[in-house]
Point group: C2
Amino acid sequence: MSKVTIYDVARVADVSLATVSRVLNNPEKVKPKTRERVLAAINELGYRPNAIARGLASRRSTNVGLIVPTCSRASVSEMIDGVADIADKYRYSVFLNVTHNENDIATNVWQNMIASQVDGVLMMADKLSDDEIERLANDTVPTVLLSVKDLDGRLPAVLIDYELAAYEATKKLIENGNKDIAFITSSSYYAMNELKEQGYRRALAEAGLEPRILGLYNKFENSLEAFKEFFANNAAPDAALAVRDSVAVMFMNAAIEHGISVPNDLEIIGFQNTKYAIMSRPQLSTINIPTYDIGAVAMRLLTKLMKEEEVTETQITLPHSFVWRSTTK
Amino acid sequence: MSKVTIYDVARVADVSLATVSRVLNNPEKVKPKTRERVLAAINELGYRPNAIARGLASRRSTNVGLIVPTCSRASVSEMIDGVADIADKYRYSVFLNVTHNENDIATNVWQNMIASQVDGVLMMADKLSDDEIERLANDTVPTVLLSVKDLDGRLPAVLIDYELAAYEATKKLIENGNKDIAFITSSSYYAMNELKEQGYRRALAEAGLEPRILGLYNKFENSLEAFKEFFANNAAPDAALAVRDSVAVMFMNAAIEHGISVPNDLEIIGFQNTKYAIMSRPQLSTINIPTYDIGAVAMRLLTKLMKEEEVTETQITLPHSFVWRSTTK
DNA sequence: TTGAAAGCGCTAACAG
DNA sequence: CTGTTAGCGCTTTCAA
């Protein structure tokens, strides 16, 4: 569409194209009067610089890549909103790519993005191999990890201390006098969930209690059935910590249908503080995670990295908190 | 990073850069033997074509723009997944932009995307003015509307017949013998919700019943309070249709806390068939919307439009269905 | 079947 | 402060 090029503007304003380029990129270097003439011409013609040509000439695209496993989990969609808002603010465009949690895809996508000349990338991907981390860390275009981090801290990252959060939640459950505390986790393999499990185990170990891990199926509907079956065939635990609010609510619903009273016979804590927690009955006690902020802070960090500003803190841990509602005593 | 250019490949393969370009874009026009030599060189050097340079030279970017009001509503995040999957399949990259429902922003974003040389755009935006629609429709880069449509059908669109869905749901409620049927809507202005309201009103009008519209606040927490207040100060309706599952569940929870029995004293139907509907107690009857498919189908339609293939049907209505659970008799 | 050459629309030295 | 001049890395005629 935009058939109007920088040449047209230059002609109308009666200057060289270099001057037009200057008022666009370094307006202070142009005499006010000329600048105005150029601006007027731009307006008159409805000129919009061609981002691609600009990218080619300047070797900077003002594009960033965003790699996520999926959009349709609240924990990631809110983060995307955070990324998008800050990107917008700094006038970056964001390339979205969803990998469905397949790692080789993530790495491949990353390479494609680099080839597409993004200036930086935000990546949410589990279990990157050492080689992969090495490659990301050594590339000239900066990559920031979302929610997860590599253990050696080679890559910038914005995350939550999931281990600590789970540890503290479990500890609370222990303090409330519970002995048989279950951990309800997902069968799919998330690094995040592994950290949560570690925190859970640490708290139990300190108290000399036995862990009890309950896996569940990826498919939502199957999980409900699985939970029902669980309560039909097993002694119910005294308390439970779940990897996500939705999981916690499903577990709770199954328990209640089995005649168990929450929180009297069974205390439950979720993870994330989503709407699920408010909408369940009883309302779910949960760990509040600043999801939006993870995205926003990561994007902000990335802008600094891209501008090669001095960044003191390259691995940022955002604070979690607890929201005590009606599923805990 | 990819410092390797097409020249390097040409040199190593001992051909001209034109030939390398050909094996990339029209492999059949190159003698198999040469082709293999080039391919080998590409492999050896780890060459990846620079998407930006390619875009500039070919005037096609293989990028599409995706404009949404937010990511963190299930109805849009699932759609995004649909778009992303199909885009991936056709090797398009997607530029994501969230507008927070502000229309002037959406139009502006659209222009920026066009300037960024996208080959097409998918847009979810309410209440576009006639001028805006005109502009989108007349541009050389195709735009497909998501979920909403312009009334004259000038723009391609993929959507649900929300009016009909609401009409049918309301009719079911009427057939069940309810007289006082409420419509629970959001105070923010969505074209979609307006259509739902129209369907609701049509069904009531046909039955000679009076409509009863209940607005609610945008903020989730406030809504719960508002609903509680509603039940404290007003006669409860016999039945209700809500614009979203989450709204339906909140309304139901408030009702139940007020001592109303669902579905005996109050029948409720939601919209969307999200996890909320399964996780509520009782489980919510709702209208199933193929959210993922809206995105997927729209993206597929867009690829055709971009290739200038013949498209017979430019406004596609996807089917809805009903899921009767425990909040209806 | 291949190569030479002319751009795509812009930025960025370098002069002036 | 402004203009001239090279490219950025690739596609695409046009000839050979």
